[in-house]
Structure formats: C-alpha cells, structure tokens
C-alpha cells in the first residue's frame, strides 16, 4: 500500500492495466471510454461525496495505476444501479467494468469485511441472509412454511469448484 502512495509515477504505472481490466469478464467496456464524464454526472454517489467519481476511477485505470485502483476501496463505492449503463454514449458499461475491477481486487485479497461475511454465510447456509430463529417462529405463526428448502451441499460443491473459497480466505 505504502509503495502505491509514494512511488514515482512512471515506476508505478502499469501500461497493460487497462487491458488487464478489459480482459477480465465484464471489463471490456473500459476500452470504449472517451472520458466524457456522463457516468459521473449521472452517478448518485458522485453527487454526495467527492471521494468517488467513476470517470476519474476509469482514468486511473487507463493511466495504469494498478495498485491505487486494486488496493483501494473506491470500486466498492459503485452501487451497481446501472444508471451509467443506460447513459454512457459509448456503451462503455462503466457499472459493469466495476465488477471486473472488484474481481481483480478480490484476487489481490482486497475484499471488504461485509462481503466476506455474506460470502461465508452463503458458503455455510446456501444464502447470504439467513432468517433468525425469531423469524422462523414468526413464519410458522403467520401460516408460512417454516422450512425454506436450500441446496447447501450443491452450492458448496459449486463454490469449491470455482475460486470462491480461496478468494474469501485471502486477506490483504
């Protein structure tokens, strides 16, 4: 992290980073960006905080500042509301590119705690939100079935086959 903050620009820049993102699933749109800023002007988060600006984040990707992007938490600021998908005049799908960036960040071990909790929940129970005991009692009381059928074993088999388990055990 430190190196990313203090290093000289040319040494930090990775010329191939934009293409690394472009070649990650959902990342192709980064190649279409013309930096017009319509994503930023449409973004509900960019209006509330100066920290986040999707155009600027893509600019950072284009400049090849790999560590700044992947080790920070700015890509998590995207709400995936997909307003920019409908608005980007180039069809650049910036909200989709954010998934590519987050997937790459996860590979670097950068996953927010909240997502680790959800992911662990998913692995152990087959779902990201589990009903509390109280909720189960209520379900029964209000005439809803108490058993909600969940394929935990199958979900685990799938997640073991992908890199999921490895990703959530990694930490920065």
């Amino acid at each position: 992290m430190d190196e990313a903050k203090v290093g000289a620009f040319p040494a930090r820049a990775r010329a191939d980073f934009m293409h690394e993102v472009a070649n990650t699933p959902r990342g192709r749109g980064v190649l279409l960006c013309i930096q017009c800023g319509r994503c930023t002007n449409s973004c509900p988060v960019a209006r509330t905080t100066d920290e986040y600006n999707p155009r600027k984040l893509v600019e950072t990707v284009i400049l090849g500042l790999r560590k700044e992007v992947l080790l920070g938490n700015l890509p998590r600021y995207c709400l995936s509301c997909f307003t920019c998908l409908d608005r980007c005049p180039q069809g650049g799908d910036i909200g989709e590119v954010m998934f590519a960036i987050r997937n790459l960040a996860a590979k670097e071990g950068n996953v927010p705690e909240g997502i680790i909790v959800q992911a662990k929940n998913l692995f152990e129970t087959g779902r990201v939100v589990t009903p509390t005991r109280m909720a189960l009692i209520q379900r029964e009381r209000y005439g809803l079935s108490k058993d909600i059928s969940i394929g935990i074993d199958e979900a685990q088999k799938i997640l073991k086959k992908t890199s999921f388990v490895e990703l959530i055990s990694k930490k920065v």
């Binding site: 990650t24 699933p25 959902r26 509900p44 988060v45 209006r47 509330t48 905080t49 938490n73 998590r76 600021y77 709400l79 995936s80 509301c81 997909f82 307003t83 998908l85 409908d86 799908d93 909200g95 998934f99 987050r102 997937n103 996860a106 996953v111 927010p112 705690e113 909240g114 997502i115 959800q118 992911a119 998913l122 087959g126 779902r127 990201v128 589990t130 009903p131 509390t132 909720a135 209520q138 379900r139 209000y142 005439g143 809803l144 079935s145 059928s149 969940i150 394929g151 935990i152 199958e154 979900a155 088999k157 799938i158 997640l159 086959k161 992908t162 890199s163 999921f164 990703l167 959530i168």
Partner: protein, 292 residues
C-alpha cells in the same frame, strides 16, 4: 398460469408481509406459484464482486431447477431478478460461456439448457394478468392518495436487458395507479436507494437515500410504494437512521406494492404486518379508509 417461485433470501427472513401478500394475491389472478425446492442464493451483486464464475454457476443452478420444473421463474426481489435474468440472457447468448458454466454445473449433475424465462412479479402482473384485470380486482380504490413509487434500479436497468419487455417504470406506475392512487413524480425517482453502499460507507448510503427522501417530501406524498426488498429496508429503516445520524425527520410510511394491492383488493393488513413497518402506517391507513 404457473410459475417457479424464487423467493430469495431477504424476503422470507425479514419481509414476511411482502411474501404473504404475494401468496394471497397471485392465486386470485389465476397465477399459481410453485415453490422452488433445493435452490441456493441468487448470487447478488456482493457475491458477483468476488468472482464471475461463482456468480454464473450459482445463478445458473437455480435456473436449471426451474428448467427441470418446466416453468418460468417469478422473483420478488430486484436483486434476484437481475442476477437470474442477466445469467439467463448471457448463457443463452454465449455458447462458450454456457459450456464453461455447464462444466462447473456438472459437479452437481445440472446442465443449463436455456429453456425458460425469468420474470419479476411486476412483469407477470403487467404482461400476464394485465392492468385492466388488476383494476377490476380492486374493491376499494384509494382515490386522492398521493404515492411516490420507488421502482428500484434493476426492475428497468440496464435498458438493453429489459428492452421490449416493459416500457420502463411506466408499467409499474400503471399498475400502482390501478389501485386508484395518484403516482406522483418526484426528483430522483429513478435513482438508487443507496442500499448497496451499506457496509462500505454507511454515511454515503444515507446521503443517497436522503436525496431520494428529499424529493419525496417535496412532492408531498402520503406514502412510498416499493417493489424491491432492499429499497424497502433502505427507505423504511433508513428514515430512522437518518433521523438519528443527520437529525432530519421525514416520517413517510413505506409499503410494498403487493401490500397496497392486497389492501385495495379488500384484504386489510393484520396487526403484525402493520407493526413490521418501522415508520408507522397509521396515517396512511387512515387516509385509505377515508378514500372509501
């Protein structure tokens, strides 16, 4: 009409009122909901942030179950809807990707074939039941009630995924209006509720929700109508948090569209259902009674 009912995680755990309303309403329109057995999480955006293959495989497994049932999927949650719809569309269009996902699914003896459609509860009401039939089923139209509709993002965005299915949020507005209410335009209507920011930066999440609530307040609505369980939480519970952290009080009741429709169809909310709303419903329920 028969649908494979994918209820998701959040609704059966925390928003029982939404679930019950849908289960009561839909059969009255001749829509049979068959609960999907042995499903797993839809793989919402938080999970998609981790890994592409995990998302597609988890979502595709659910779709395979519906394919085996021979039924189209009906979802209630906008997140489930988008995850399953995107996966279904991607895998139908892209053979290479389909083969990759199927190689993962082979471990659980499933194969994605691309035989079914994914629909939101709103799609089914609009396309299959029809606004006219919804209107006819309404026993007590709430004339004079001003509501702000919160469509949520993934009912309509991105446009290309939903193109041709419905005309954006107009369809939802028409359905809401079928209950006799006036759907009021407000600033930031099509914007996100801020929910996905929870756990990343709660202060920003509240600010995003606040933008929306400001718009609703300026428009002078009696209540907010939601279709997504996350929007519901963010706008209902969120109002309490905004009051606590930002010292701004809105007091705008939030109801699920399914609840509004249920009441309009002559089935009042039970006490526990009313109590489950963080912002008290008393005011708006009173107005509904007056409307009669």
């Amino acid at each position: 009409m028969k649908y494979a009912f994918f209820i998701g995680c959040l609704i059966p755990a925390r928003e029982l009122g939404y679930e019950i309303s849908v289960r009561k309403i839909m059969p009255l329109f001749g829509v049979e909901l068959v609960d999907m057995e042995n499903v797993n999480c839809c793989a919402p955006f938080s999970i998609q942030s981790l890994d592409y293959a995990s998302w597609l495989s988890l979502a595709a497994r659910n779709l395979c179950i519906a394919e085996e049932m021979g039924l189209d999927v009906l979802t209630l949650c906008n997140d489930c809807y988008e995850s399953l719809l995107m996966t279904n569309t991607l895998l139908k269009e892209n053979k290479e990707l389909r083969e990759k996902v199927n190689s993962v699914l082979a471990t659980v003896d499933k194969e994605f074939k691309g035989k079914i459609k994914v629909k939101h509860f709103i799609d089914v009401l609009y396309d299959d039941v029809g606004v006219e039939n919804v209107k006819n089923a309404v026993k007590t139209p709430f004339h004079g009630l001003r509501v702000g509709v919160q469509p949520g993002c993934h009912l309509t965005k991105p446009k290309r995924l939903h193109f041709g299915e419905r005309i954006g949020i107009k369809a939802l507005d028409e359905l809401v209006k079928a209950t006799g209410v006036k759907s009021v335009d407000f600033e930031r209507k099509e914007a996100c509720c801020g929910g996905p920011m929870r756990g990343i930066n709660d202060a920003v999440a509240l600010q995003v929700a606040k933008q929306k609530l400001d718009g609703l307040k300026n428009a002078g609505v009696d209540c907010i109508v939601t279709v997504c369980p996350f929007c519901y939480l963010e706008l209902d519970l969120g109002q309490l948090e905004i009051k606590r952290h930002l010292n701004v009080e809105y007091n705008i009741p939030v109801v699920h569209f399914a609840e509004l429709l249920k009441i309009a169809m002559g089935m009042p909310l039970e006490d526990w259902e009313i109590r489950s709303h963080k912002i008290p419903l008393a005011k708006v329920l009173e107005k509904m009674k007056e409307a009669k």
